[in-house]
């Protein structure tokens, strides 16, 4: 029996789900669909990693077309939901409010409850053995590691994107300002000199 628990830990899968990162061009919308059973719990996490003001519109529809979640210009969010009907659920990301910045969006769509590490954990009458409780602890810890890694990876990607933007902007503005400085100061001197310069009479004009 202990062997089963250990084997169970070692082959434990996460609940089914998909995570994708894609680029959403400006004035575009991208929709994803998934067929789900009734009474299934799903969670949609999304975050904008790069582009513009790092925000995106998102909405989720159930099979009957009713909107169960709708947010505008969000940077990141998490939406858990338990399905009430069976059918195809749709979630869409929209960048239609932006005219020139395309966004990089990450989303993670987790379906189903986490299966317990021990198949009969809920129906057992006796206490867990040391081995089994060690397995349960390790399983929970590893799941926490996955979540933590994803969270930090996305935060870091977003911050790095901002830092690179900032660096670029500082460089361009500095060069631009220096050029403007030269142009304006030389222009001032030339203009002043021109006020005090006599206009040379053009050849052929009648003088008085």
């Amino acid at each position: 029996l202990r062997g089963w628990a250990l084997a169970g830990l070692l082959c434990a899968l996460r609940a089914g789900g998909t995570e994708l990162t894609f680029e959403l061009p400006d004035s575009h919308k991208q929709c994803f669909h998934q067929e789900l059973e009734r009474g299934v719990k799903f969670t949609l996490d999304y975050q904008v990693i790069a582009g513009g003001h790092y925000d995106v519109d998102c909405y989720v529809e159930d099979p009957s077309g009713r909107t169960i979640y709708k947010e505008a210009k969000k940077q990141y969010d998490s939406f858990p939901h338990r399905t009430e009907t069976q059918g195809v659920y749709t979630f869409c990301f929209s960048n239609e409010f932006s005219t020139f910045s395309h966004k990089t969006v990450y989303f993670d769509f987790q379906v189903g409850d986490e299966p317990p590490i021990l198949p009969d954990m809920s129906t057992r009458v006796t206490a867990l053995t040391q081995m089994e409780s060690a397995c349960v602890t390790i399983h929970e810890a590893l799941n926490a590691v996955i979540d933590s890694q994803t969270h930090y990876r996305l935060r870091e990607a977003q911050d790095r994107s901002r830092a690179e933007d900032l660096n670029g902007r500082v460089s361009y503005w500095s060069v631009g300002e220096t050029l403007i400085l030269f142009v304006v100061s030389i222009g001032q001197v030339v203009l002043l000199k021109s006020f005090f310069t006599e206009k040379r009479p053009s050849s052929g004009s009648a003088g008085t």
Binding site: A7, L10, C31, F109, T178, V189, L192
Partner: protein, 200 residues
């Protein structure tokens, strides 16, 4: 293959995967085509294929192959960074009406080495546990690789921030010096000008 999205006949849809080096990435897809007669997506579309292109962060193409309407592709990353996986159908049809014509089911797994289930049935319990332990050790190595990669990225991020900081400082000093020297030049130039015009 649960998640799907729609795409135009000749449209290319791309997915970005940021992975550390020496990581196996496996993708499963299935594509269906809209049929006007039955007003639904065909269950299988013979003759329809998908070009799968994988571009490494160095802009080198790792994979560029034509697969059938349903397929599995995989690649191992040599460099750490953003790999771009693009799917485009080989359809030669012109778009007859607006809207999506293809339904693409997609599933991408990173860093997972699938257990060969048949191997597990073979031997006794001890062997099974041994194989599963090896699988687990591999997975923990993958966690370690991801953490190393994260450390690299954070270092790059820190460098960028420090570069920005010194950029700002250097340009501020340079602009102040330019401002002062141009001020001197302006006054000198105008003074010489007025003297030559006998106004002063």
């Amino acid at each position: 293959l649960a998640l799907y999205f729609h795409s135009g006949e000749r449209e290319e849809k791309c997915i970005i995967e940021d992975v550390p080096s020496d990581t196996l990435v496996i993708g499963n897809y299935k594509v269906q085509r809209w049929d006007i007669h039955i007003q639904d997506f065909l269950e299988s579309a013979p003759g329809l294929g998908m070009f799968v292109t994988v571009t490494a962060p160095s802009a080198e193409v790792l994979l560029s192959k034509l697969y059938g309407p349903q397929g599995t592709f995989s690649f191992t990353s040599y460099l750490s960074g953003e790999h771009i996986i693009c799917l485009q159908s080989n359809s030669t049809r012109f778009v007859t009406f607006a809207g999506s014509n293809l339904r693409i089911h997609l599933d991408i797994r990173v860093g997972e080495h699938f257990l060969d289930e048949s191997v597990l049935q073979a031997k006794d319990k001890v062997n099974e546990v041994k194989i599963r332990l090896e699988h687990l050790i591999e997975k923990v190595h993958h966690i370690s690789k991801e953490q190393d990669y994260e450390r690299e990225r954070e270092e790059k991020f820190r460098k960028t921030s420090e570069e920005t900081n010194s950029n700002i400082l250097w340009w501020a000093i340079a602009q102040t010096l330019i401002l002062i020297s141009i001020g001197f030049w302006q006054i000198k130039s105008l003074r010489d000008f007025f003297i030559s015009k006998k106004l002063v």
